[in-house]
């Protein structure tokens, strides 16, 4: 009988994995919802430190009535030269629900960061990170075989010494060890108090607006991951997977061991 402490082969998720998974899920869904609301208020993305309605955008997203609203009075130049920066009075009544949107975003971010740190520390010290998540010494051949298997919709139970397949391990590692750190750090880079204390954040992300743009694309990739994750959970046995991640039931493949 496989118990939850066994090093490999067990399909049963540890209690701390199950709890951090669902608390993290709830916080992530709140962050996506409020993040989208915040994006709706100013649906323009820029590169560098500065970006506003009076400067060119890198990307404009048609996600709210604020999209290309153009509700400004005459532009007034600050300086005499013809390329002078300008000022203009906004007359358009914009969509803005950031009062609750921002506060809920940051509250959810606290929950996700605390849960994520707890998960990371537990994963490192229990060996979960090393045994179950890191892809280890993958060869390009085994990796592409795994990709091919996914493409022909034959999802294999690979002998990786983990409950996860090779492509699955790689994806989880990229999400947990790259995308989450990037989205947290770019989020912090948008904070005036934090960048005053930690000015290197503005350097590594090329400025506040670059950090905001990277934050958006990291969020996009995380939502894409969520969708693929849910599809894979359904295709590999929804009931079995949900039982393993909730009440921690042993799965039929556990019983055989």
């Amino acid at each position: 009988m496989a118990n939850s402490q066994s090093s490999s082969g067990s399909k049963k998720h540890n209690l701390w994995v199950r709890v951090t998974h669902w608390v993290g899920t709830a916080a992530f869904l709140l962050l996506v919802t409020t993040g989208f609301e915040i994006l709706m208020v100013h649906p323009r993305l820029y590169w560098g430190e500065v970006g506003n309605d009076l400067t060119p955008a890198f990307l404009e997203l048609p996600v709210s009535r604020n999209y290309k609203h153009g509700g400004y009075e005459k532009r007034i130049a600050f300086f005499a030269d013809k390329n002078s920066p300008v000022s203009a009075v906004r007359t358009y009544e914009i969509f803005n629900e950031n009062g609750w949107g921002r506060s809920l975003h940051f509250l959810s971010a606290w929950i996700l960061v605390v849960t994520g740190l707890f998960y990371l520390i537990a994963a490192i010290f229990s060996g979960h990170l090393h045994r179950q998540l890191l892809p280890g010494n993958i060869s390009s051949k085994s990796f592409f075989n795994d990709v091919k298997d996914h493409l022909v919709k034959r999802i294999p139970q690979r002998m990786t010494g983990s409950k996860y397949g090779l492509l699955q391990k790689t994806t989880y590692s990229v999400v947990l060890l790259f995308l989450f750190p990037v989205i947290v750090l770019t989020g912090l880079t948008m904070s005036p108090a934090i960048t005053a204390a930690c000015p290197f954040l503005l350097k590594i992300f090329f400025g506040l607006q670059s950090a905001r743009t990277i934050h958006f694309f990291a969020a996009f990739l995380l939502v894409l991951f969520l969708l693929i994750h849910v599809v894979m959970v359904i295709r590999t046995g929804f009931r079995k997977n949900m039982l393993a991640m909730t009440i921690g039931n042993k799965t039929p493949s556990d019983e055989k061991q």
């Binding site: 400067t55 940051f106 005036p192 005053a196 204390a197």
Partner: protein
């Protein structure tokens, strides 16, 4: 007593630990360091962020300053003319001052100070000035860089004889806004009362004749059209506006 061979039993250690933790929480209750949370979970999150920022960072670090080349275009949002009766934030008083180009304008400084009084623009010009090129970060998501010239708020309040038990500085604006900051932000070297923008007098749409610049917080704390400053030793509660009081993020 069966366990008298131990000076401190596990049970007493736990009890002592819990009661001292309780004392720390109670101490926190008697000396509020944050505004009321109104039982609102969002305001509790804001308070947590505020306390985390104040515990983790010194609060004395300067926000990044830029070069003149970096000065950018700058939208004017919120109230843009309190002298215009057809717009939001209209003030009869402001309209009168505006007619005489703010010659009669005075900033009132009141509350927990030894010498309450008012400062005309000429009075403020006599203080050593500070010029800084900083980034305005709006809660909406946009940013803009401008050069601001003004007098450090801390210097004005020292001149007025601010009390040592002062805890908050409350700003009152002609357009009806009231907001406050703590002492750390008040005496931050980049917290200035700005009368100049990009080398000229502060334009009407950006808060003429005087606005606050609080560079370690989001744009809406840098109030425009200042009328009055009141120093208090406790938080002056204007009710839950639906917006976070501390916006260092």
């Amino acid at each position: 007593m069966k366990n008298n061979k131990y000076l401190i039993t596990r049970r007493t250690a736990i009890a002592t630990g819990l009661s001292s933790l309780g004392a720390m929480i109670l101490y926190g209750c008697t000396r509020p360091t944050s505004p009321p949370t109104y039982g609102n979970i969002l305001r509790m999150g804001d308070a947590f962020t505020y306390n985390a920022h104040r515990s983790l960072f010194s609060g004395r670090a300067l926000a990044k300053e830029y070069s003149r080349r970096d000065i950018s275009s700058f939208p004017a949002t919120g109230t843009t003319n309190p002298g215009d009766s057809s717009r939001a934030g209209f003030s009869e008083l402001y309209a009168q001052l505006q007619k005489k180009d703010f010659a009669d304008w005075k900033l009132s400084v009141e509350g927990k100070v030894n010498n309450p009084g008012s400062y005309s623009l000429n009075d403020l010009y006599k203080f050593p000035s500070r010029t800084q090129i900083t980034r305005h970060t709006c809660e909406e998501g946009w940013t803009a860089i401008a050069e601001w010239t003004g007098v450090p708020l801390g210097n004005v309040l020292r001149h007025a004889g601010i009390h040592t038990n002062a805890r908050f500085v409350n700003f009152y604006a002609y357009d009806g806004w009231i907001d406050s900051i703590d002492m750390l932000d008040t005496f931050h070297p980049q917290t200035i009362l700005a009368y100049g923008m990009n080398g000229k007098n502060l334009p009407l749409q950006h808060g003429a004749p005087l606005r606050a610049r609080i560079e370690t917080q989001i744009g809406y704390k840098s109030m425009k059209y200042l009328q009055k400053i009141v120093v208090t030793d406790e938080f002056f509660d204007t009710g839950d506006s639906g917006w976070a009081w501390y916006v260092g993020m």
